[in-house]
Protein backbone atom coordinates (compact mmCIF):
# COMPACT_ATOMS: atom_id res chain seq x y z
CA UNK A 1 0.00 0.00 0.00
CA UNK A 2 3.02 2.18 0.53
CA UNK A 3 4.03 1.51 -3.06
CA UNK A 4 0.54 2.33 -4.32
CA UNK A 5 0.70 5.64 -2.45
CA UNK A 6 4.01 6.38 -4.16
CA UNK A 7 2.69 5.43 -7.61
CA UNK A 8 -0.33 7.70 -7.15
CA UNK A 9 1.87 10.53 -5.99
CA UNK A 10 4.26 10.08 -8.94
CA UNK A 11 1.44 10.05 -11.47
CA UNK A 12 0.21 13.26 -9.81
CA UNK A 13 3.61 14.90 -10.42
CA UNK A 14 2.82 14.89 -14.17
CA UNK A 15 0.52 17.85 -13.71
CA UNK A 16 3.24 19.92 -12.01
CA UNK A 17 5.36 20.10 -15.14
CA UNK A 18 2.77 20.87 -17.75
CA UNK A 19 4.99 21.89 -20.65
CA UNK A 20 7.28 18.90 -20.40
CA UNK A 21 4.35 16.53 -19.85
CA UNK A 22 2.62 18.09 -22.85
CA UNK A 23 5.56 17.59 -25.18
CA UNK A 24 6.06 14.02 -24.01
CA UNK A 25 2.39 13.30 -24.58
CA UNK A 26 2.51 14.78 -28.09
CA UNK A 27 5.39 12.45 -28.92
CA UNK A 28 3.56 9.29 -28.00
CA UNK A 29 0.25 10.72 -29.21
CA UNK A 30 1.53 11.10 -32.77
CA UNK A 31 3.28 7.75 -32.82
CA UNK A 32 0.37 5.79 -31.43
CA UNK A 33 -2.17 7.67 -33.57
CA UNK A 34 -0.16 6.80 -36.69
CA UNK A 35 0.13 3.22 -35.59
CA UNK A 36 -3.57 2.89 -34.83
CA UNK A 37 -4.39 4.48 -38.16
CA UNK A 38 -2.24 2.26 -40.35
CA UNK A 39 -2.99 -0.91 -38.43
CA UNK A 40 -6.75 -0.52 -38.45
CA UNK A 41 -6.92 0.71 -42.04
CA UNK A 42 -4.52 -2.09 -43.01
CA UNK A 43 -6.71 -4.68 -41.31
CA UNK A 44 -9.83 -3.33 -43.00
CA UNK A 45 -8.09 -3.31 -46.38
CA UNK A 46 -6.93 -6.85 -45.85
CA UNK A 47 -10.43 -8.05 -44.97
CA UNK A 48 -11.73 -6.32 -48.06
CA UNK A 49 -9.07 -7.96 -50.25
CA UNK A 50 -9.91 -11.42 -48.95
CA UNK A 51 -13.59 -10.79 -49.62
CA UNK A 52 -12.87 -9.56 -53.15
CA UNK A 53 -10.61 -12.50 -53.93
CA UNK A 54 -13.41 -14.75 -52.81
CA UNK A 55 -15.83 -12.87 -55.07
CA UNK A 56 -13.45 -13.31 -58.00
CA UNK A 57 -12.51 -16.93 -57.54
CA UNK A 58 -14.93 -18.58 -55.18
CA UNK A 59 -13.82 -22.03 -54.07
CA UNK A 60 -11.98 -23.34 -57.13
CA UNK A 61 -11.86 -21.51 -60.40
CA UNK A 62 -9.53 -19.79 -62.81
CA UNK A 63 -9.61 -17.07 -65.40
CA UNK A 64 -8.38 -16.88 -68.95
CA UNK A 65 -7.60 -13.38 -70.15
CA UNK A 66 -6.85 -12.21 -73.66
CA UNK A 67 -3.24 -11.08 -74.10
CA UNK A 68 0.00 -12.57 -72.79
CA UNK A 69 2.56 -11.43 -70.24
CA UNK A 70 2.10 -10.83 -66.56
CA UNK A 71 2.93 -8.19 -64.12
CA UNK A 72 1.76 -8.44 -60.53
CA UNK A 73 -0.78 -11.00 -61.73
CA UNK A 74 -2.44 -8.66 -64.21
CA UNK A 75 -2.36 -9.13 -67.96
CA UNK A 76 -0.31 -6.93 -70.27
CA UNK A 77 -0.27 -6.44 -74.03
CA UNK A 78 -3.96 -6.82 -74.82
CA UNK A 79 -4.34 -9.39 -77.55
CA UNK A 80 -7.10 -9.80 -80.05
CA UNK A 81 -7.27 -13.53 -80.53
CA UNK A 82 -9.30 -15.05 -77.74
CA UNK A 83 -12.77 -16.12 -78.81
CA UNK A 84 -15.74 -17.85 -77.30
CA UNK A 85 -14.96 -20.94 -79.37
CA UNK A 86 -11.57 -21.22 -77.63
CA UNK A 87 -13.22 -21.29 -74.23
CA UNK A 88 -15.92 -23.66 -75.44
CA UNK A 89 -13.22 -26.03 -76.72
CA UNK A 90 -11.47 -25.87 -73.35
CA UNK A 91 -14.78 -26.58 -71.59
CA UNK A 92 -15.36 -29.63 -73.77
CA UNK A 93 -11.84 -31.07 -73.73
CA UNK A 94 -10.84 -30.57 -70.11
CA UNK A 95 -13.02 -32.83 -67.97
CA UNK A 96 -12.25 -30.93 -64.72
CA UNK A 97 -14.07 -27.82 -66.06
CA UNK A 98 -17.52 -27.86 -64.55
CA UNK A 99 -18.81 -24.66 -66.12
CA UNK A 100 -17.54 -21.52 -67.83
CA UNK A 101 -18.60 -18.09 -68.96
CA UNK A 102 -16.92 -15.82 -71.50
CA UNK A 103 -17.02 -12.07 -71.03
CA UNK A 104 -16.65 -9.07 -73.29
CA UNK A 105 -16.33 -5.64 -71.74
CA UNK A 106 -17.00 -2.15 -73.03
CA UNK A 107 -16.95 1.18 -71.27
CA UNK A 108 -19.53 3.44 -72.78
CA UNK A 109 -22.19 5.97 -71.97
CA UNK A 110 -25.66 4.91 -70.94
CA UNK A 111 -28.63 7.24 -70.99
CA UNK A 112 -32.21 7.46 -69.92
CA UNK A 113 -33.97 10.63 -70.94
CA UNK A 114 -31.76 13.48 -69.72
CA UNK A 115 -29.80 11.35 -67.26
CA UNK A 116 -26.49 9.90 -68.39
CA UNK A 117 -23.75 7.73 -66.88
CA UNK A 118 -20.55 6.17 -68.12
CA UNK A 119 -20.69 2.52 -67.16
CA UNK A 120 -18.83 -0.71 -67.68
CA UNK A 121 -20.97 -2.89 -69.95
CA UNK A 122 -20.28 -6.62 -69.64
CA UNK A 123 -21.49 -9.15 -72.16
CA UNK A 124 -22.06 -12.52 -70.51
CA UNK A 125 -24.01 -15.73 -71.07
CA UNK A 126 -26.95 -17.32 -69.22
CA UNK A 127 -24.35 -19.09 -66.99
CA UNK A 128 -23.16 -15.72 -65.75
CA UNK A 129 -24.89 -15.82 -62.36
CA UNK A 130 -23.58 -19.30 -61.56
CA UNK A 131 -20.00 -18.72 -62.77
CA UNK A 132 -19.32 -15.18 -61.54
CA UNK A 133 -21.34 -15.66 -58.37
CA UNK A 134 -23.09 -12.31 -58.64
CA UNK A 135 -26.79 -12.55 -57.98
CA UNK A 136 -29.70 -10.38 -58.97
CA UNK A 137 -31.26 -8.68 -55.95
CA UNK A 138 -34.35 -7.84 -58.01
CA UNK A 139 -35.60 -9.53 -61.17
CA UNK A 140 -33.49 -12.31 -62.71
CA UNK A 141 -30.75 -13.02 -65.26
CA UNK A 142 -31.64 -13.68 -68.89
CA UNK A 143 -31.91 -17.30 -70.10
CA UNK A 144 -30.21 -19.13 -72.99
CA UNK A 145 -32.92 -18.23 -75.49
CA UNK A 146 -32.30 -14.54 -74.81
CA UNK A 147 -28.59 -15.10 -75.50
CA UNK A 148 -29.33 -17.04 -78.69
CA UNK A 149 -31.65 -14.37 -80.00
CA UNK A 150 -29.45 -11.44 -78.84
CA UNK A 151 -32.26 -9.86 -76.84
CA UNK A 152 -31.90 -6.28 -75.71
CA UNK A 153 -32.26 -6.94 -71.98
CA UNK A 154 -30.02 -5.61 -69.20
CA UNK A 155 -29.20 -6.03 -65.51
CA UNK A 156 -27.85 -2.87 -63.90
CA UNK A 157 -25.78 -2.14 -60.79
CA UNK A 158 -26.85 0.11 -57.95
CA UNK A 159 -24.78 3.10 -59.09
CA UNK A 160 -26.40 2.97 -62.52
CA UNK A 161 -29.82 2.75 -60.84
CA UNK A 162 -29.05 5.88 -58.82
CA UNK A 163 -27.67 7.77 -61.83
CA UNK A 164 -30.44 6.97 -64.27
CA UNK A 165 -33.52 6.27 -62.21
CA UNK A 166 -33.04 8.22 -58.97
CA UNK A 167 -35.92 7.17 -56.78
CA UNK A 168 -37.99 5.60 -59.57
CA UNK A 169 -38.41 1.84 -59.92
CA UNK A 170 -36.02 0.72 -62.67
CA UNK A 171 -37.62 -2.70 -63.25
CA UNK A 172 -39.03 -2.87 -66.81
CA UNK A 173 -37.68 0.59 -67.56
CA UNK A 174 -35.81 1.40 -70.75
CA UNK A 175 -32.24 2.68 -71.05
CA UNK A 176 -29.99 3.39 -74.01
CA UNK A 177 -26.52 1.88 -74.25
CA UNK A 178 -24.84 3.90 -76.95
CA UNK A 179 -27.58 4.21 -79.55
CA UNK A 180 -29.32 0.94 -78.66
CA UNK A 181 -32.35 0.76 -76.32
CA UNK A 182 -32.45 -2.00 -73.68
CA UNK A 183 -35.08 -3.17 -71.18
CA UNK A 184 -34.08 -3.49 -67.49
CA UNK A 185 -34.83 -7.00 -66.22
CA UNK A 186 -32.81 -7.07 -63.01
CA UNK A 187 -30.69 -5.26 -60.40
CA UNK A 188 -27.19 -6.60 -59.62
CA UNK A 189 -26.06 -7.49 -56.11
CA UNK A 190 -23.99 -4.55 -54.70
CA UNK A 191 -20.23 -5.36 -54.79
CA UNK A 192 -18.68 -2.04 -53.84
CA UNK A 193 -15.23 -0.93 -54.97
CA UNK A 194 -12.55 -3.36 -56.16
CA UNK A 195 -8.78 -3.09 -55.37
CA UNK A 196 -8.22 -1.03 -58.53
CA UNK A 197 -10.72 1.51 -57.30
CA UNK A 198 -13.35 0.48 -59.85
CA UNK A 199 -16.93 0.85 -58.74
CA UNK A 200 -18.33 -2.62 -59.35
CA UNK A 201 -21.83 -1.22 -58.92
CA UNK A 202 -21.34 0.96 -62.00
CA UNK A 203 -21.68 -2.17 -64.12
CA UNK A 204 -24.26 -3.42 -66.56
CA UNK A 205 -24.71 -7.03 -67.71
CA UNK A 206 -26.18 -7.80 -71.14
CA UNK A 207 -26.21 -11.02 -73.22
CA UNK A 208 -22.76 -11.35 -74.81
CA UNK A 209 -24.26 -11.94 -78.25
CA UNK A 210 -26.20 -8.68 -78.07
CA UNK A 211 -23.07 -6.77 -77.06
CA UNK A 212 -21.00 -8.27 -79.89
CA UNK A 213 -23.59 -7.77 -82.63
CA UNK A 214 -25.19 -4.49 -81.70
CA UNK A 215 -22.50 -2.52 -79.86
CA UNK A 216 -18.89 -3.61 -80.33
CA UNK A 217 -19.05 -5.52 -83.59
CA UNK A 218 -16.07 -7.71 -82.63
CA UNK A 219 -16.11 -11.39 -81.81
CA UNK A 220 -13.07 -11.55 -79.52
CA UNK A 221 -13.62 -11.69 -75.78
CA UNK A 222 -11.89 -9.91 -72.90
CA UNK A 223 -11.66 -13.04 -70.84
CA UNK A 224 -13.51 -15.92 -69.29
CA UNK A 225 -14.00 -17.51 -65.93
CA UNK A 226 -13.92 -21.28 -65.60
CA UNK A 227 -15.19 -23.26 -62.62
CA UNK A 228 -13.38 -26.47 -61.77
CA UNK A 229 -14.76 -29.55 -60.05
CA UNK A 230 -13.57 -29.66 -56.42
CA UNK A 231 -11.18 -32.58 -57.01
CA UNK A 232 -9.34 -30.81 -59.86
CA UNK A 233 -5.55 -30.42 -59.74
CA UNK A 234 -5.00 -26.78 -60.60
CA UNK A 235 -1.54 -27.13 -62.21
CA UNK A 236 -2.69 -29.98 -64.46
CA UNK A 237 -5.78 -28.07 -65.56
CA UNK A 238 -3.69 -24.98 -66.33
CA UNK A 239 -1.29 -27.11 -68.38
CA UNK A 240 -4.13 -28.73 -70.34
CA UNK A 241 -5.75 -25.36 -71.09
CA UNK A 242 -2.40 -23.94 -72.14
CA UNK A 243 -1.84 -26.77 -74.62
CA UNK A 244 -5.34 -26.48 -76.13
CA UNK A 245 -5.16 -22.69 -76.55
CA UNK A 246 -1.65 -22.67 -78.02
CA UNK A 247 -2.70 -25.31 -80.50
CA UNK A 248 -5.87 -23.45 -81.47
CA UNK A 249 -3.95 -20.21 -81.90
CA UNK A 250 -1.26 -21.96 -83.93
CA UNK A 251 1.59 -20.79 -81.76
CA UNK A 252 5.03 -22.26 -82.43
CA UNK A 253 7.30 -23.28 -79.56
CA UNK A 254 9.30 -20.03 -79.67
CA UNK A 255 6.26 -17.76 -79.57
CA UNK A 256 4.96 -16.57 -76.22
CA UNK A 257 1.41 -17.11 -75.00
CA UNK A 258 -1.11 -14.61 -76.35
CA UNK A 259 -3.41 -15.25 -73.37
CA UNK A 260 -3.02 -15.38 -69.60
CA UNK A 261 -4.31 -17.91 -67.17
CA UNK A 262 -4.97 -16.44 -63.77
CA UNK A 263 -5.38 -18.79 -60.86
CA UNK A 264 -6.44 -18.33 -57.26
CA UNK A 265 -2.96 -19.23 -56.04
CA UNK A 266 -1.40 -16.52 -58.21
CA UNK A 267 -3.78 -13.95 -56.81
CA UNK A 268 -2.96 -15.19 -53.34
CA UNK A 269 0.70 -14.46 -54.00
CA UNK A 270 -0.12 -10.92 -55.00
CA UNK A 271 -2.29 -10.60 -51.94
CA UNK A 272 0.48 -11.92 -49.73
CA UNK A 273 2.80 -9.16 -50.93
CA UNK A 274 0.11 -6.52 -50.37
CA UNK A 275 -0.49 -8.00 -46.96
CA UNK A 276 3.19 -7.77 -46.14
CA UNK A 277 3.12 -4.06 -46.90
CA UNK A 278 -0.06 -3.52 -44.93
CA UNK A 279 0.83 -5.54 -41.88
CA UNK A 280 4.60 -5.11 -41.66
CA UNK A 281 6.05 -2.07 -43.41
CA UNK A 282 3.38 0.48 -42.64
CA UNK A 283 3.26 -0.38 -38.91
CA UNK A 284 7.06 -0.30 -38.96
CA UNK A 285 6.99 3.29 -40.18
CA UNK A 286 4.50 4.12 -37.44
CA UNK A 287 6.69 2.34 -34.90
CA UNK A 288 9.64 4.51 -35.91
CA UNK A 289 7.64 7.65 -35.20
CA UNK A 290 6.70 6.18 -31.83
CA UNK A 291 10.36 5.41 -31.19
CA UNK A 292 11.25 9.01 -32.01
CA UNK A 293 8.59 10.12 -29.52
CA UNK A 294 10.11 7.80 -26.93
CA UNK A 295 13.57 9.25 -27.44
CA UNK A 296 12.23 12.78 -27.09
CA UNK A 297 10.48 11.76 -23.88
CA UNK A 298 13.59 10.14 -22.46
CA UNK A 299 15.62 13.26 -23.23
CA UNK A 300 13.04 15.54 -21.65
CA UNK A 301 12.95 13.36 -18.55
CA UNK A 302 16.73 13.30 -18.22
CA UNK A 303 16.63 17.09 -18.40
CA UNK A 304 13.93 17.06 -15.78
CA UNK A 305 16.05 14.89 -13.49
CA UNK A 306 18.90 17.40 -13.62
CA UNK A 307 16.51 20.27 -13.06
CA UNK A 308 14.90 18.54 -10.11
CA UNK A 309 18.12 17.52 -8.36
CA UNK A 310 17.09 19.43 -5.23
CA UNK A 311 13.76 17.66 -5.16
CA UNK A 312 15.49 14.30 -5.46
CA UNK A 313 17.92 15.21 -2.68
CA UNK A 314 15.06 16.33 -0.47
CA UNK A 315 13.13 13.13 -1.08
CA UNK A 316 16.20 11.13 -0.11
CA UNK A 317 16.59 13.24 3.04
CA UNK A 318 13.02 12.57 4.13
CA UNK A 319 13.41 8.85 3.71
CA UNK A 320 13.14 7.86 0.04
CA UNK A 321 15.23 4.86 -0.89
CA UNK A 322 16.97 4.71 -4.26
CA UNK A 323 14.24 2.29 -5.38
CA UNK A 324 11.57 4.83 -4.48
CA UNK A 325 13.23 7.50 -6.62
CA UNK A 326 13.66 5.07 -9.48
CA UNK A 327 10.03 4.00 -9.28
CA UNK A 328 8.86 7.61 -9.19
CA UNK A 329 10.62 8.58 -12.41
CA UNK A 330 9.57 5.34 -14.04
CA UNK A 331 5.94 5.94 -13.21
CA UNK A 332 6.09 9.59 -14.26
CA UNK A 333 7.56 8.74 -17.67
CA UNK A 334 5.40 5.73 -18.36
CA UNK A 335 2.15 7.31 -17.17
CA UNK A 336 2.79 10.38 -19.34
CA UNK A 337 3.60 8.38 -22.44
CA UNK A 338 0.68 6.05 -21.83
CA UNK A 339 -1.73 8.96 -21.43
CA UNK A 340 -0.52 10.43 -24.73
CA UNK A 341 -0.81 6.98 -26.29
CA UNK A 342 -4.40 6.47 -25.18
CA UNK A 343 -5.36 9.83 -26.66
CA UNK A 344 -3.47 8.77 -29.80
CA UNK A 345 -5.51 5.58 -30.03
CA UNK A 346 -8.76 7.53 -29.96
CA UNK A 347 -7.55 10.05 -32.53
CA UNK A 348 -6.05 7.34 -34.76
CA UNK A 349 -9.30 5.41 -34.62
CA UNK A 350 -11.33 8.44 -35.66
CA UNK A 351 -8.93 9.04 -38.57
CA UNK A 352 -9.00 5.37 -39.54
CA UNK A 353 -12.77 5.38 -39.48
CA UNK A 354 -12.90 8.45 -41.73
CA UNK A 355 -10.27 7.01 -44.07
CA UNK A 356 -11.94 3.62 -44.30
CA UNK A 357 -15.28 5.22 -45.05
CA UNK A 358 -13.67 7.36 -47.73
CA UNK A 359 -11.97 4.38 -49.33
CA UNK A 360 -15.06 2.15 -49.05
CA UNK A 361 -13.24 -0.34 -46.87
CA UNK A 362 -16.13 -0.97 -44.55
CA UNK A 363 -15.91 -0.61 -40.79
CA UNK A 364 -12.65 -0.71 -38.84
CA UNK A 365 -12.37 -2.83 -35.71
CA UNK A 366 -10.38 -0.79 -33.19
CA UNK A 367 -9.50 -3.47 -30.62
CA UNK A 368 -6.43 -5.00 -32.23
CA UNK A 369 -4.92 -1.62 -32.96
CA UNK A 370 -5.88 -0.30 -29.51
CA UNK A 371 -4.21 -3.22 -27.79
CA UNK A 372 -1.09 -2.75 -29.91
CA UNK A 373 -1.12 0.99 -29.13
CA UNK A 374 -1.38 0.43 -25.39
CA UNK A 375 1.26 -2.30 -25.31
CA UNK A 376 3.68 -0.33 -27.46
CA UNK A 377 3.26 2.88 -25.48
CA UNK A 378 3.88 0.98 -22.23
CA UNK A 379 6.99 -0.60 -23.74
CA UNK A 380 8.23 2.76 -25.05
CA UNK A 381 7.34 4.37 -21.71
CA UNK A 382 9.32 1.81 -19.73
CA UNK A 383 12.26 2.07 -22.12
CA UNK A 384 12.21 5.86 -22.05
CA UNK A 385 11.92 5.84 -18.24
CA UNK A 386 14.92 3.60 -17.79
CA UNK A 387 17.70 6.14 -18.26
CA UNK A 388 16.12 9.05 -16.33
CA UNK A 389 15.06 6.75 -13.49
CA UNK A 390 18.53 5.26 -13.27
CA UNK A 391 20.13 8.68 -13.28
CA UNK A 392 17.78 10.01 -10.61
CA UNK A 393 18.30 6.98 -8.41
CA UNK A 394 22.06 7.17 -8.77
CA UNK A 395 22.23 10.79 -7.64
CA UNK A 396 23.97 11.22 -4.29
CA UNK A 397 21.69 13.08 -1.87
CA UNK A 398 24.51 15.33 -0.69
CA UNK A 399 25.31 16.48 -4.22
CA UNK A 400 21.64 16.79 -5.07
CA UNK A 401 20.94 19.07 -2.10
CA UNK A 402 23.92 21.32 -2.66
Amino acid sequence: MNTMRLINHSAGMMGRHKVRTGFMMIGSFIGVAAMTLVVSVGMAAERKLVKLAHQMFGESSLMIIDGGGHMMGGPRNPGTRLKIDDIEAVGKQVPEIESWDAQQGLTTSVRRGDSADTAQVLGESERSEHVWGRHAVQGAYFDDSAVKSSERVVLIGQTVVNQLFGNEDPMGGEIQIGPVPFRVIGILEPWGTDPHGMDRDNEIVVPITTLMRRLTNVDTITGAKLLMVPSAQETQVVKAINTILRERHGLTADQPDDFSILTASEVQQVMASIKRILSLYLPLVAAISLLAGGIVSATLMVGSVNERAAEIGLRRAVGARTEDIRLQFFVETTATILAGGVAGILFGYVLAHMGATHMHLGSVAPWGAALLGIVSSIVVGLAAGLLPAQRAAGMSPVDALR
Binding site: L6, H9, E311, R316, A317, V318, G319, R321, D324, L401
Partner: protein, 234 residues
Protein backbone atom coordinates in the same frame (compact mmCIF):
# COMPACT_ATOMS: atom_id res chain seq x y z
CA UNK B 1 21.64 10.40 21.31
CA UNK B 2 24.71 11.11 19.18
CA UNK B 3 28.21 9.76 19.64
CA UNK B 4 30.90 10.62 17.08
CA UNK B 5 34.34 9.06 17.53
CA UNK B 6 37.31 10.28 15.49
CA UNK B 7 35.32 11.13 12.36
CA UNK B 8 37.38 12.04 9.30
CA UNK B 9 35.85 12.80 5.93
CA UNK B 10 38.11 12.98 2.91
CA UNK B 11 36.96 14.10 -0.53
CA UNK B 12 38.92 13.68 -3.68
CA UNK B 13 39.07 16.93 -5.59
CA UNK B 14 38.77 16.92 -9.40
CA UNK B 15 42.55 17.30 -9.67
CA UNK B 16 43.00 14.12 -7.68
CA UNK B 17 44.42 15.61 -4.50
CA UNK B 18 42.53 14.74 -1.31
CA UNK B 19 40.66 17.33 0.74
CA UNK B 20 39.95 16.73 4.39
CA UNK B 21 36.55 18.22 5.17
CA UNK B 22 36.54 16.80 8.70
CA UNK B 23 39.54 15.74 10.72
CA UNK B 24 39.24 13.51 13.79
CA UNK B 25 35.96 14.97 15.04
CA UNK B 26 34.56 13.51 18.25
CA UNK B 27 31.33 14.81 19.64
CA UNK B 28 28.75 13.64 22.13
CA UNK B 29 25.23 15.02 22.19
CA UNK B 30 22.73 13.93 24.86
CA UNK B 31 19.01 13.44 24.49
CA UNK B 32 17.15 16.73 24.69
CA UNK B 33 20.12 19.01 23.94
CA UNK B 34 19.92 22.07 21.66
CA UNK B 35 23.35 22.42 20.07
CA UNK B 36 24.64 25.02 17.65
CA UNK B 37 27.53 24.12 15.38
CA UNK B 38 29.18 27.36 14.37
CA UNK B 39 31.72 27.94 11.65
CA UNK B 40 32.52 29.89 8.55
CA UNK B 41 31.70 28.53 5.12
CA UNK B 42 34.09 25.76 4.13
CA UNK B 43 34.79 24.89 7.75
CA UNK B 44 33.19 21.45 7.38
CA UNK B 45 29.98 22.12 9.26
CA UNK B 46 27.74 21.04 6.38
CA UNK B 47 29.73 17.84 5.94
CA UNK B 48 29.29 17.16 9.63
CA UNK B 49 25.55 17.75 9.26
CA UNK B 50 25.31 15.35 6.31
CA UNK B 51 27.06 12.65 8.29
CA UNK B 52 24.81 13.23 11.31
CA UNK B 53 21.81 12.99 8.98
CA UNK B 54 22.96 9.71 7.42
CA UNK B 55 23.14 11.39 4.01
CA UNK B 56 26.89 10.83 3.87
CA UNK B 57 29.28 8.32 5.39
CA UNK B 58 32.54 9.14 7.16
CA UNK B 59 35.85 8.00 5.68
CA UNK B 60 37.11 7.07 9.12
CA UNK B 61 35.74 6.89 12.63
CA UNK B 62 32.44 5.68 13.99
CA UNK B 63 29.03 7.21 14.47
CA UNK B 64 26.59 5.82 17.02
CA UNK B 65 23.03 7.09 16.83
CA UNK B 66 20.91 6.10 19.84
CA UNK B 67 23.56 3.57 20.71
CA UNK B 68 23.52 1.87 17.31
CA UNK B 69 26.56 1.81 15.04
CA UNK B 70 25.44 3.42 11.81
CA UNK B 71 28.26 1.77 9.84
CA UNK B 72 26.33 -1.48 10.00
CA UNK B 73 23.15 -0.04 8.53
CA UNK B 74 22.03 -1.03 5.06
CA UNK B 75 20.97 1.75 2.68
CA UNK B 76 17.29 0.91 3.11
CA UNK B 77 17.61 0.99 6.90
CA UNK B 78 19.35 4.39 6.69
CA UNK B 79 16.44 5.65 4.61
CA UNK B 80 14.06 4.36 7.26
CA UNK B 81 15.98 6.21 9.98
CA UNK B 82 15.96 9.44 8.00
CA UNK B 83 12.28 9.01 7.53
CA UNK B 84 11.27 8.25 11.09
CA UNK B 85 13.93 9.43 13.50
CA UNK B 86 15.50 12.46 11.87
CA UNK B 87 13.89 15.67 10.66
CA UNK B 88 15.76 17.96 8.27
CA UNK B 89 15.43 21.71 7.90
CA UNK B 90 17.42 23.45 5.14
CA UNK B 91 18.52 27.00 4.46
CA UNK B 92 16.69 27.08 1.11
CA UNK B 93 13.58 25.31 2.49
CA UNK B 94 13.50 22.80 -0.40
CA UNK B 95 9.74 22.88 -0.73
CA UNK B 96 8.32 21.38 -3.91
CA UNK B 97 7.05 24.20 -6.13
CA UNK B 98 3.45 24.20 -7.39
CA UNK B 99 2.58 21.94 -4.47
CA UNK B 100 0.35 22.89 -1.55
CA UNK B 101 1.78 23.36 1.94
CA UNK B 102 -0.12 20.31 3.12
CA UNK B 103 1.21 18.09 0.32
CA UNK B 104 4.73 19.34 1.05
CA UNK B 105 4.36 18.54 4.73
CA UNK B 106 3.00 15.08 3.98
CA UNK B 107 5.89 14.18 1.64
CA UNK B 108 7.80 12.12 4.26
CA UNK B 109 4.63 10.08 4.91
CA UNK B 110 4.93 8.87 1.32
CA UNK B 111 8.04 6.96 2.26
CA UNK B 112 6.82 5.75 5.64
CA UNK B 113 5.25 2.40 6.41
CA UNK B 114 2.60 3.96 8.62
CA UNK B 115 -0.83 2.55 7.95
CA UNK B 116 -2.86 5.60 8.93
CA UNK B 117 -1.61 8.99 7.84
CA UNK B 118 -4.83 10.95 7.98
CA UNK B 119 -4.57 14.30 9.68
CA UNK B 120 -0.85 14.10 10.48
CA UNK B 121 0.11 16.78 7.95
CA UNK B 122 -2.57 19.17 9.14
CA UNK B 123 -1.57 18.62 12.76
CA UNK B 124 2.08 19.38 11.94
CA UNK B 125 1.10 22.57 10.12
CA UNK B 126 -1.03 23.64 13.07
CA UNK B 127 1.90 23.08 15.40
CA UNK B 128 3.92 25.72 13.52
CA UNK B 129 0.97 28.12 13.41
CA UNK B 130 0.04 27.60 9.75
CA UNK B 131 -3.24 25.73 10.21
CA UNK B 132 -4.91 28.33 7.99
CA UNK B 133 -2.41 27.97 5.11
CA UNK B 134 -2.76 24.31 4.18
CA UNK B 135 -3.77 24.92 0.55
CA UNK B 136 -1.25 27.68 -0.11
CA UNK B 137 1.59 27.04 -2.50
CA UNK B 138 5.18 28.01 -1.57
CA UNK B 139 5.04 30.96 -3.99
CA UNK B 140 2.07 32.33 -2.03
CA UNK B 141 3.90 32.22 1.32
CA UNK B 142 6.52 34.52 2.87
CA UNK B 143 10.03 33.20 3.49
CA UNK B 144 9.31 32.72 7.18
CA UNK B 145 6.11 30.88 6.43
CA UNK B 146 7.89 28.66 3.91
CA UNK B 147 10.49 27.73 6.50
CA UNK B 148 7.72 26.95 8.98
CA UNK B 149 6.15 24.64 6.38
CA UNK B 150 9.56 22.98 6.05
CA UNK B 151 9.73 22.58 9.84
CA UNK B 152 6.26 21.04 9.84
CA UNK B 153 7.50 18.62 7.19
CA UNK B 154 10.46 17.70 9.41
CA UNK B 155 8.06 17.07 12.29
CA UNK B 156 5.34 15.11 10.52
CA UNK B 157 6.80 11.70 11.30
CA UNK B 158 7.50 12.79 14.91
CA UNK B 159 11.27 12.27 14.95
CA UNK B 160 13.23 12.94 18.14
CA UNK B 161 16.22 14.47 16.35
CA UNK B 162 16.02 17.65 14.29
CA UNK B 163 18.94 18.73 12.08
CA UNK B 164 18.79 22.32 10.83
CA UNK B 165 21.34 23.59 8.31
CA UNK B 166 21.40 27.42 8.40
CA UNK B 167 17.62 27.50 8.90
CA UNK B 168 17.57 31.28 9.26
CA UNK B 169 20.12 32.03 6.53
CA UNK B 170 17.54 33.22 4.03
CA UNK B 171 15.21 34.95 6.51
CA UNK B 172 14.87 38.46 7.85
CA UNK B 173 15.30 39.16 11.58
CA UNK B 174 11.67 38.84 12.44
CA UNK B 175 11.13 35.56 10.59
CA UNK B 176 14.40 34.20 11.98
CA UNK B 177 13.13 35.00 15.43
CA UNK B 178 9.89 33.12 14.76
CA UNK B 179 11.80 30.08 13.58
CA UNK B 180 14.09 30.13 16.62
CA UNK B 181 11.04 30.40 18.87
CA UNK B 182 9.63 27.27 17.27
CA UNK B 183 12.92 25.42 17.75
CA UNK B 184 13.07 26.44 21.40
CA UNK B 185 9.51 25.24 21.94
CA UNK B 186 10.27 21.94 20.22
CA UNK B 187 13.40 21.52 22.32
CA UNK B 188 11.40 22.20 25.48
CA UNK B 189 9.03 19.38 24.54
CA UNK B 190 11.98 16.98 24.47
CA UNK B 191 13.41 16.98 20.96
CA UNK B 192 17.14 17.00 20.39
CA UNK B 193 18.14 19.74 17.96
CA UNK B 194 21.42 20.30 16.15
CA UNK B 195 21.60 23.60 14.31
CA UNK B 196 24.35 24.70 11.97
CA UNK B 197 24.91 28.45 11.61
CA UNK B 198 27.57 31.05 10.99
CA UNK B 199 25.53 33.65 12.90
CA UNK B 200 26.59 34.12 16.51
CA UNK B 201 23.32 35.84 17.35
CA UNK B 202 21.31 32.81 16.21
CA UNK B 203 23.71 30.45 17.98
CA UNK B 204 23.17 32.33 21.23
CA UNK B 205 19.63 30.89 21.39
CA UNK B 206 21.07 27.40 21.86
CA UNK B 207 22.20 25.70 25.07
CA UNK B 208 25.57 24.71 23.71
CA UNK B 209 27.86 26.00 20.99
CA UNK B 210 30.48 23.90 19.20
CA UNK B 211 32.84 25.87 17.01
CA UNK B 212 34.31 24.20 13.95
CA UNK B 213 37.29 25.47 11.98
CA UNK B 214 39.02 23.80 9.04
CA UNK B 215 37.45 20.46 9.77
CA UNK B 216 38.19 20.38 13.51
CA UNK B 217 36.12 21.23 16.54
CA UNK B 218 38.03 23.98 18.26
CA UNK B 219 35.64 24.95 21.04
CA UNK B 220 32.62 23.39 22.74
CA UNK B 221 30.88 25.35 25.47
CA UNK B 222 27.60 25.48 27.32
CA UNK B 223 25.66 28.74 27.09
CA UNK B 224 24.84 29.83 30.57
CA UNK B 225 21.80 31.86 29.66
CA UNK B 226 20.40 31.17 26.19
CA UNK B 227 18.50 34.01 24.57
CA UNK B 228 14.76 33.52 24.52
CA UNK B 229 13.14 34.07 21.14
CA UNK B 230 9.83 35.86 21.53
CA UNK B 231 6.83 33.88 20.49
CA UNK B 232 4.84 36.94 19.46
CA UNK B 233 4.17 35.57 15.99
CA UNK B 234 2.58 32.35 17.18
Amino acid sequence: MIQLNGITKTYTRPGGEPLNALIDVSLHIDDGEFVAIVGTSGSGKSTLMNILGLLDVPSEGSYYLRGEDTAGLAAAAQAQWRNKRIGFVFQTFHLLPRTSALDNVELPLLYSDRVSIRGLGRKALESVGLGDRVAHRPSELSGGQQQRVAIARALVNEPDLLLADEPTGNLDRRSANEVMAIFQALNKSGRTIVLVTHDAEIASHCQRIARIERGRIVADQRVTEPKIALQEAL
